[in-house]
């Protein structure tokens, strides 16, 4: 269910001395998907195929687990997740959430942007789970996982 409301803007809480940034969350659409592509191209050594952007990213069920972080009107970070089926027998029917990309361009790191992106998605997933439990239904999401690039310290 997509009835759970998402917060649209937050202020980051950096751990170090860096200044907090006001972030607006925007959903990805056909009109701005190219921005996401440009961002990922600049940050990651892996180049994702056009299908990644046209099919996976724009899937309606991924709408709430793909977030673009805007600061003063510019895109400075994004998180893209997708839903996967669960292999474990007793958790069948529940989705696993796989983080495909999570990145912030160099000048904007250490300001807490990555944290709020991750937090935003987590909050939504947990809220969905809680809502389901209240209605006596099984939890839709089981866990979240990702791959880490070797050498990414």
């Amino acid at each position: 269910s997509t009835k759970t409301k998402m917060k649209n803007s937050v202020v980051t809480q950096p751990r170090g001395d860096a200044a907090p940034l006001k972030i607006n969350f925007v959903g990805v659409t056909k009109a701005n998907v190219k921005q996401l592509q440009t961002l990922n191209l600049a940050i990651f050594p892996v180049r994702y195929s056009p299908k990644f952007y046209s099919e996976v990213v724009l899937k309606p069920e991924h709408q709430n687990i793909i977030k673009l972080a805007y600061h003063c009107g510019n895109l400075i970070g994004a998180i893209c997740c997708r839903l996967e089926d669960n292999d474990q027998k007793d958790l069948k029917g529940q989705h696993r959430v796989y983080i495909m990309t999570l990145g912030v361009p160099a000048p904007y790191r250490d300001h807490g942007v990555g944290s709020v992106l991750l937090q935003a998605v987590l909050e939504w997933l947990e809220a969905e789970n809680a809502a389901a439990a209240e209605n006596g239904k099984p939890k839709p999401f089981s866990d979240m996982w990702l791959h880490v690039q070797e050498g990414n310290t």
């Binding site: 009109a31 701005n32 961002l39 600049a42 003063c72 400075i76 361009p105 000048p107």
Partner: protein
């Protein structure tokens, strides 16, 4: 445009002499004739035509019916037949029917032959002096053509005939005003007020008194105007207007200090960002008296003037701290260290707010080399400081956000771009893009730099990158369109324009032309020209001319409207503005290209080049596309046919109840045919007499662009071919006066000397010999 109402709604008192039997109708046909008129007025043209035909069956030579038929045909776009019929109608009625003259006038008016129309109306009035409809139509045309003398007579007549109508009074006063009979105008308004109640609402009352005030001001009697302003203080709601007039009066009476105080009030209480007020404030300051008043902020001034103005603005800045404009204008007159400190404060403030328009705001400062140097040092030092220490050098304790650094980098790039050091600018913008690659404005700047380096394909690619970042952004789309046109990719540009079109089925041309998008038309024309197709290029450039004609024509609606609504000040200003529309830079730009174009057409024809063969039919459908379209349409018809059958069954039983006439209702609705619009926009280029057609554009250039060297060069070429030696000389002398180093000047001199003057009269030859062109 409102449909002109025919005069024959009123029973004509004297139409045709009764002795002429073919010109009077028996009662049955008379009713039919009245029906024709009614149908015309209610826009049922085809029906009107039918009824007229039935009258003509029995009375084939009835002048007035022939004219009415002609009138209906003219609306149905059968112009030639219409004119023939109307002229026949005139001759049949022996030129003695005011109806026929009126109709002839209406035809001319629809074709914008205003002078001819005026003549026809005057003829109609000779026959029927007091025909109100003709008088009103005539007054409208006379205002449109600014024939003030004729207008005075017509308006006087209207007032005599119907003194109970308010707008006849107002119309007469306006006519006097336009004829500069200020005291008479005021007298008329005074009489009007005593006899009738001029205005109903508060706003109308206010406008009425402000209009009187305007007349007083224009008559030059400033004291009277000031007194009047005091008297109408409570009635007028236009406080700003009153203050502005007050200030102008004081200046007229040579009392700058009083004016100065009023301008201060305007700035402080009404609009602190108004550049006009601020300039007037400066010019009326005590310290500026006796000096040359400022006319422009961007032109460099003498040191003395700069100092004086700087002090005045500094003082104003303290009194009105909210004004952004004042803070910016101070930069134009500041020098040395003051300039350095102020620029730092101004620019840093906007860098922190990351406002992209910052760089355009600084444009005018690049007129002075000293300022350029100061700015370069500042900008580069800030960029470095922000990159390495995340702070401005002046404020090392304040940490700046990451994008302030980004905008600083962009600012440095824009600075070098402005200095025309394109390679450097390019390196800087690439640094900015590496910093945050998702910002569209960076790519736009990159594209601009590449464009100036003449790398049009790369520039186009950069803009496309920007556009794809946000395909819903119309600004980016428009930029992309422009760059495609510069790169001669006309079809691509057209495709992009269509994405924001209102109705995708219509030809995209309609979007551009209906919206009077002149920049697109000129760019598209340029693109066709570069591709060698001069005829299509001319068609595009001529559209600009058409728009200006349309704009002028649109003013016709206001003549009646404004008199009713009493918005007279704005109305008078519009009338005056309309005469100056050819002043507009976009019109002059197009005019230059048109003259150049016609000259080239002539040259190429002389050389035997077939211009039609060079026409690029970029948008003609290929055979495959045509076949596909036909197949699609056939399918649609099959689907549509099934739908049509059902409502027909429902309609049948009701049919008998309806009158026979209503069968034709479907035909009479004005169908908007998009392909008809496209035909209207496909202008004809005069290939028979190109030089003749170019003359009126050249005259516009001569009148409105006297400082433009290119304009004179273009006219020089035209008149050389038209063999008008004196005009050629005139333009040559202008070029010499404006720019001795003009690149084509030696060639022009040669061409001038080589002119064949054997046919010219002796006096002309004398002048040519004696005038020096060194």
């Amino acid at each position: 445009v409102s449909q002109p109402v025919c005069s024959c709604t009123m029973p004509p008192k004297t139409s045709t002499p009764p002795s002429d039997p073919s010109q009077t109708l028996p009662p049955k046909q008379q009713t039919q004739f009245k029906q024709v008129v009614k149908l015309y007025e209610s826009k049922h043209y085809k029906k009107a035509n039918k009824v007229a035909d039935s009258i003509l069956k029995t009375h084939p030579n009835h002048g007035e019916t022939l004219s009415m038929k002609g009138l209906t045909l003219s609306v149905l776009n059968k112009k030639e037949e219409a004119y023939q019929l109307v002229k026949r109608g005139l001759t049949e009625s022996k030129f003695k029917s005011h109806v026929c003259w009126h109709v002839y006038g209406l035809l001319h008016r629809a074709d914008r032959n205003y002078k001819e129309a005026i003549k026809c109306y005057n003829n109609a009035l000779k026959i029927d002096k007091n025909n109100l409809q003709v008088l009103r139509d005539l007054a409208q045309l006379q205002v449109q053509c600014m024939e003030t003398n004729g207008l005075l007579i017509t308006r006087h007549k209207l007032l005599e005939l119907k003194p109970g109508h308010k707008f006849n009074w107002v119309g007469f006063a306006v006519a006097q005003h336009l004829a500069k009979n200020y005291s008479t105008a005021l007298q008329v308004l005074h009489n009007f007020e005593t006899l009738l109640d001029p205005a109903d609402t508060k706003y109308e009352k206010s406008e009425f008194v402000m209009y009187r005030n305007m007349i007083m001001f224009e008559s030059g009697d400033f004291n009277k105007t000031l007194e009047h302003l005091e008297a109408i203080k409570d009635v007028s709601v236009d406080k700003v207007g009153m203050l502005e007039t007050k200030a102008k009066c004081y200046r007229g009476l040579d009392k700058p200090s009083d004016a100065h105080a009023v301008y201060f009030e305007l700035i402080q209480s009404y609009n602190c960002e108004h550049r006009g007020y601020i300039m007037d404030y400066v010019n009326t300051a005590e310290a500026m008296q006796g000096k040359q008043p400022l006319t422009s902020w961007t032109e460099p001034q003498s040191k003395e003037v700069c100092e004086v103005v700087y002090k005045i603005l500094e003082d104003l800045e303290q009194k009105v701290p909210a004004s952004h404009v004042v803070r910016r204008l101070v930069l134009d007159v500041a020098v040395g260290d003051a300039f350095k400190t102020r620029t730092t404060a101004f620019v840093q403030r906007y860098l922190k707010k990351t406002i992209p328009a910052l760089f355009s705001a600084l444009k005018s400062l690049y007129n002075t080399p000293e300022k350029i140097e100061i700015m370069e040092k500042l900008f580069v030092s800030w960029e470095e400081s922000l990159r390495t220490k995340q702070c401005f050098p002046e404020t090392p304790d304040e940490t700046e956000l990451p994008q302030t650094g980004l905008w600083a980098t962009m600012l440095v790039s824009a600075h070098f771009y402005r200095k025309a050091e394109y390679e450097t600018a390019l390196t800087w913008i690439e640094k900015a893009i590496a910093h945050t690659p998702t910002v569209e404005m960076l790519y736009i700047l990159q594209a601009r730099i590449l464009k100036h380096m003449n790398k049009l394909q790369e520039a186009s690619d950069a803009v496309e990158k920007a556009r794809l970042l946000d395909t819903a952004d119309r600004y980016l789309n428009t930029k992309a369109v422009k760059y495609h046109l510069r790169n001669n990719k006309i079809k691509e540009a057209d495709r992009l324009t269509a994405t924001f079109a209102r109705a995708p089925e219509e030809p995209p041309l309609n979007n551009v032309v209906e919206m009077q998008c002149t920049w697109y038309e000129i760019e598209e024309g340029d693109a066709y020209y570069r591709l060698g197709d001069i005829i299509t290029a001319m068609k595009k450039w001529l559209l600009v001319d058409k728009h200006f004609g349309d704009i002028s024509e649109d003013q016709m609606d206001f003549h009646q409207y404004c008199l009713r609504k009493l918005t007279l000040r704005a109305y008078i200003e519009t009338l005056r503005w309309d005469k100056k529309t050819h002043h507009y830079p976009v019109y002059l730009k197009a005019a230059k290209k048109v003259v150049q174009g016609f000259t080239e057409i002539y040259d190429q024809q002389q050389q035997g080049v077939d211009l039609q063969s060079k026409v690029l039919h970029l948008f003609k459908e290929t055979e495959e596309e045509k076949a596909a379209k036909e197949a699609e349409e056939k399918e649609k018809e099959k689907a549509g046919a099934k739908k049509k059958q059902q409502p027909k069954r429902k309609g049948k039983p009701q049919k008998n109840k309806k009158r026979q006439d209503d069968d034709d209702d479907d035909d009479d609705e004005d169908e908007e045919d998009p392909s008809a619009l496209a035909k209207e926009y496909d202008l004809k280029v005069d290939l028979q007499t190109p030089l003749d057609s170019a003359v009126r554009f050249a005259e516009s250039l001569q009148q409105y662009a006297p400082e433009d060297v290119e304009a004179h060069a273009v006219c020089f070429k035209l008149y050389l071919r038209r063999k008008k030696p004196l005009l050629v000389l005139r333009h040559l002398l202008q070029v010499i006066k404006l720019n001795k180093d003009y690149k084509d000047l030696p060639q022009m001199r040669e061409q001038f000397k080589a002119m064949d003057l054997s046919d010219a009269p002796a006096a002309v030859q004398q002048v040519i010999k004696e005038t020096p062109i060194a």
